[in-house]
Symmetry: C2
Subunit: 653 residues, 2 copies
């Protein structure tokens, strides 16, 4: 008995006897994918690559955690928590094997908006001396993480609600060009936000429409306050990072373990800063105090939920779309399947539960996922192992990071965004494949740059839909079936004359309000052309009488002339996949118009629902059958009718 | 020389010599349709029916003008102006021959919203004694018409702007069920607004979301203040109107001129009211003072334009959509053509110019257009003649209407809406033809009832689009071409064995992001099924060895088995009308997957752009051709390859 059969029998059996227990088990396995893969985990084969990957991932998680927390306008340590909890929860609920959930640049950028709006920098001085009870954070810091956690909470609730409504599949509306443009635009935003650290400029938080340009305007206005030391250090870091990563890429196949240059750079920079006392000597900005340990869970500020709805929607959608693309990429590469809705649940729960642990909004990040690929990770165990190392950082190493210069961190972030920024290269592909998608890319990118990632995403989706809707009424709706291909079928049974009076048109589209009008016009054009040909034919026949040599020439262009007797039109509805009221009434109108012009219409391969709708909608000829199973049946019918007519003609004679 | 040829020659000639003069003439004829038809007006044939129609139309214009002005919350006389100016301007610019432009219930209902919001009833007492200089209207009345005229002005500007952007064709988005539901809902609103006159209740203006239900709630709360006289008079009027109109309809063919019951009723009621002094004796509400003449033109209040943007958009869209449907209906019935954009211009100018003459927003009304049909009108001359009679009413008869009871007017309005209200009968049709369109009708109607006509229209359009978008990913994307029909083509040339290893799939849809995923899954399912069959086949062959009698049985279900040698897939792209990046990359993916499974893929009848896109997008096999002009070419190629292989096999042997 095969496994599938046994399972089926079990399900059947359970339905009869104890439905609840078995159903709950099945549901749990479906909703908790960890129960599916963990028991079959191959320790021998997978543990070593997963540990290696886990260590490398931990380095990225810590670096990005610190950086994206600063991007979110909260204290860096909250980024470390954000690299820990969401990863654990995703490992339990998620199906993507190479999806490294944690802090994410795009969602951090969006939630920073809410943080800076509700708890602006200027309010710091008012509350700076009131230390709260949690790990010695100031009230100001606690208020800020409260807002970020509230965004995370609400975004998670939205994602879970979308899971309940099974909206996961609605992501088909977000096409590849839109995701590419939106992430590239957001990466540009992140680079822009790091410029102040790279140059060592003190700068207020700038956001809102066109904020992107105001930031650069501010930088150019204050070009004199640039710290040369910071510029030097960041250029050095960027050059080293790019070079070493390039070399890693080149020699990846020869030497199996790559140099964790991020880790090396962080350690080197921290030590250099500590020993040369750069903070006070050169005025370099450093990360500062990082408290040890994890504070006890606390609910996010529920009172401000209504104030962060916009940001929460942005985080929920942008985070989910970007993460799903990564999970699907992994599934495609390693031939397994990912359930859209289960991913929604996994990310939703990651956000909701983590928000109680002082976490900023989370999602899967492209750089980390690419890292998992390149270090050969096999399962989510790699992510769980990375969590152990993140925990070690939180409890032991964290405080040592005090002297990590901000400009080095910013350099790591900027270089890490390389993968997103080189998506500019896609532009050439889109240009060659489809100019319209190229246009959508460009405009989505511009919208993302000028406004924000969520605005760009919305614009991209709406314009993609609008363009498809707008293309329908312009495109051809039918094609004339090549008579040659049909000829052979009927040739044996009938004479050529009959065949030439039959025109077979195949409908290639769903027939809906978008293209019904065009369809009607197209068919009537064809029928009218026939009628016009009639005049030409008679002329042509006269010519033929005058000069019988030019006969072949004259018939060349007039392939299927319609003589004074009834001409026939066969509509092949195989391609008519679905229809609405407008489509059916147009079909009936075409039928009526053709009848008025003495053209017989037959419909081949209609679905039952189309036949029912047409019968109801139109006052169809009840004497003659007009619906046929296939084109050949329709042609046979026309042929037999013709023969009947001829017979009656003969009998009259 | 035919007219068309001469025209063409003229155009050619004008392009070479004096382009401007001829171009301007051509443009004028195109944009001023009156220049096209007026010079050829057939006085003998058309004048008499047009005069008869004009007189009957004037009766409707006056009645509806008075009523819809009250519906707009302005003084009734402004409705008379609104029955005059827009009709003249439409006659000049419009192309619909039976389109009677003037006051319109739906647009009046929308503009009433703006009037009551900006100049509420309560402000009357403050300004009632300040008589303005215009025909003795109070400042209050002048402010109210100022708002209505501003709505009309802005709506007209929006329509002209849409004309400039050539957005007329965008009305294909508004389907018949949506128009039907929206107009039925609006008619229900109009009936509701007349209830207070029918019952003789004094009632405040109620609008806003769910206002519909609040009105009936108010009526039931104040059921005791109903005036029995008003109820009696209105019931009598309604019964008489319905009966006589029904009789008119029955005997229309026998007696050519119908009884103008509206006119008779107005005259009778006015006289009765005057002689019995109903106004003071029974407290019946009457129309009141109607000033003589037309005031000099005056610009609408430009200062409040920004406050009436919502209403202006509603009027512009609802008015245009309803009017275009009528013009197209007339064009279809009498076999001429109507230009969507020219109609936009005509209605836009009607609204803009009329707004300077104290007019409420205008559009074409269904009742009046139906009247023009039934009285046999031929051209817009009927409308121009009706304008003469409306002018007579304004200058001579108007003041006599003082005693016209409001309840009689309301009865005429309600009975006049019969045509819109019986659209409920469409529901049965939609149910039988397409359940989804039925659902759209119901929900659009509910939205219109609960909110307003413009909200309903928007909801209907958005849900129609959303449903089409949502249906795409679910519907089948391809169909397997019946091998029987192809067989005959190739039979003569090749052997059956080859044919059976070729699968021809026809793509029946545009291949875009909406259905690309489904398409890929469908094709791969087919290919996988083949591979599964392989196993069964080998089993089957064993069976055959065991029991050669059951051979035929066994092959029955396994029609096209795929042997260990290469199997072929021909994708017929005739029906692939357009594509985007997602579609092309899915095609390339399918090609690659099939190659991985040792299945040869050929594409037949691709467009040049598709070939270019696929060549660029995918790393296609450069050795073998994969694009063919037709399915038969692709099959021939497969056949010749097979033969080559066989030849080489033989030579090896």
């Amino acid at each position: 008995m095969t496994g599938a059969k046994r399972k089926k029998k079990n399900v059947l059996w359970s339905k009869m006897h104890t439905p609840h227990c078995e159903d709950i088990k099945y549901w749990c396995r479906k909703r908790l994918p960890i129960l599916e893969w963990a028991p079959h985990y191959n320790l021998k084969e997978n543990l070593l690559p997963d540990i290696v990957s886990g260590v490398m991932l931990a380095v990225q998680q810590v670096t990005q955690g610190l950086a994206f927390a600063i991007l979110s306008s909260v204290h860096p340590v909250f980024g470390l928590y954000g690299s820990l909890f969401p990863a654990i929860i995703y490992a339990i609920f998620g199906m993507g094997r190479h999806v490294a959930t944690g802090t994410f640049a795009l969602t951090s950028l969006i939630s920073a908006n809410a943080v800076e709006r509700l708890v602006p920098q200027s309010s710091q001085n008012l509350t700076t001396h009131n230390h709260s009870s949690v790990l010695g954070f100031s009230d100001f810091e606690m208020q800020r993480i409260g807002v970020a956690a509230a965004v995370s909470f609400l975004a998670g609730v939205i994602q879970v609600a979308m899971f309940v409504l099974q909206l996961g599949s609605a992501t088909f509306l977000v096409t590849e060009p839109v995701i590419s443009a939106m992430t590239t635009g957001a990466a540009t935003h992140v680079v822009t936000s790091q410029v102040k650290y790279l140059l060592g400029i003190k700068m207020p938080y700038i956001s809102g429409p066109l904020g992107f340009f105001y930031i650069y305007a501010y930088v150019f206005e204050n070009i004199k306050s640039v710290r040369l030391e910071a510029v030097l250090l960041s250029s050095l870091s960027i050059v080293v990072l790019v070079l070493v990563k390039e070399l890693n890429e080149q020699f990846k196949r020869k030497i199996k373990v790559v140099l964790p240059i991020d880790l090396v750079l962080i350690i080197a920079a921290t030590f250099a800063c500590y020993f040369t006392n750069m903070e006070s000597a050169y005025g370099l900005e450093v990360i500062g105090h990082i408290p040890k340990g994890i504070p006890p869970p606390q609910a996010p500020s529920m009172g401000i939920l209504s104030a962060v709805v916009t940001e929460a929607f942005g985080v929920a959608l942008v985070g989910y779309v970007a993460s799903l693309a990564l999970a699907q990429g992994s599934a495609k590469k390693f031939k397994y399947s990912v359930d859209d809705n289960q991913e929604l649940l996994a990310h939703g729960l990651s956000n909701v539960i983590s928000s109680f642990c002082f976490c900023i909004p989370s999602a899967a990040a492209m750089g980390r996922t690419a890292g998992l690929y390149s270090t050969g990770s096999k399962t989510q165990v790699a992510c769980l192992i990375s969590c152990i190392f993140v925990l070690i950082v939180i409890y032991a190493i964290g405080p040592l990071l005090y002297w990590l210069p901000m400009c080095v961190l910013a350099s790591i972030i900027v270089v890490g965004l390389k993968g997103m920024l080189i998506q500019f290269r896609d532009l050439k592909k889109y240009w060659n494949v489809d100019k319209i998608d190229w246009g959508i890319w460009i405009s989505t990118y511009i919208f993302t740059i000028c406004f924000a990632a969520n605005v760009g995403l919305l614009f991209g989706v709406v314009s993609t839909i609008a363009i498809v809707i707008g293309r329908f009424p312009r495109e051809k709706t039918l094609s004339i079936i090549n008579m040659k291909e049909m000829e052979f079928k009927v040739k044996t049974e009938t004479d050529d004359e009959t065949l030439q009076q039959v025109k077979i048109i195949s409908i290639n589209n769903p027939l809906v309000f978008l293209n019904a009008k065009k369809f009607g016009a197209d068919v009537m054009n064809l029928v009218q052309k026939e009628n016009q040909l009639l005049d030409d034919i008679s002329k042509c026949e006269q010519n033929t009488l005058l000069n019988s040599l030019s006969n072949g020439n004259c018939n060349d262009e007039l392939a299927q002339p319609c003589s004074s007797e009834k001409c026939s039109l066969v509509l092949d509805c195989t391609g008519l996949t679905f229809f609405d009221y407008s489509g059916v009434s147009m079909l009936v109108e075409v039928y009526m118009n053709c009848k008025g012009r003495n053209v017989d219409v037959s419909l081949a391969s209609c679905t039952a629902s189309l036949i029912k709708a047409m019968t109801y909608c139109g006052n169809l000829d009840s004497e003659k059958p007009i619906f046929f199973d296939s084109v050949s049946a329709a042609i046979s019918n026309i042929y037999s009718n013709k023969n009947l007519n001829k017979l009656s003609d003969h009998s009259e004679v």
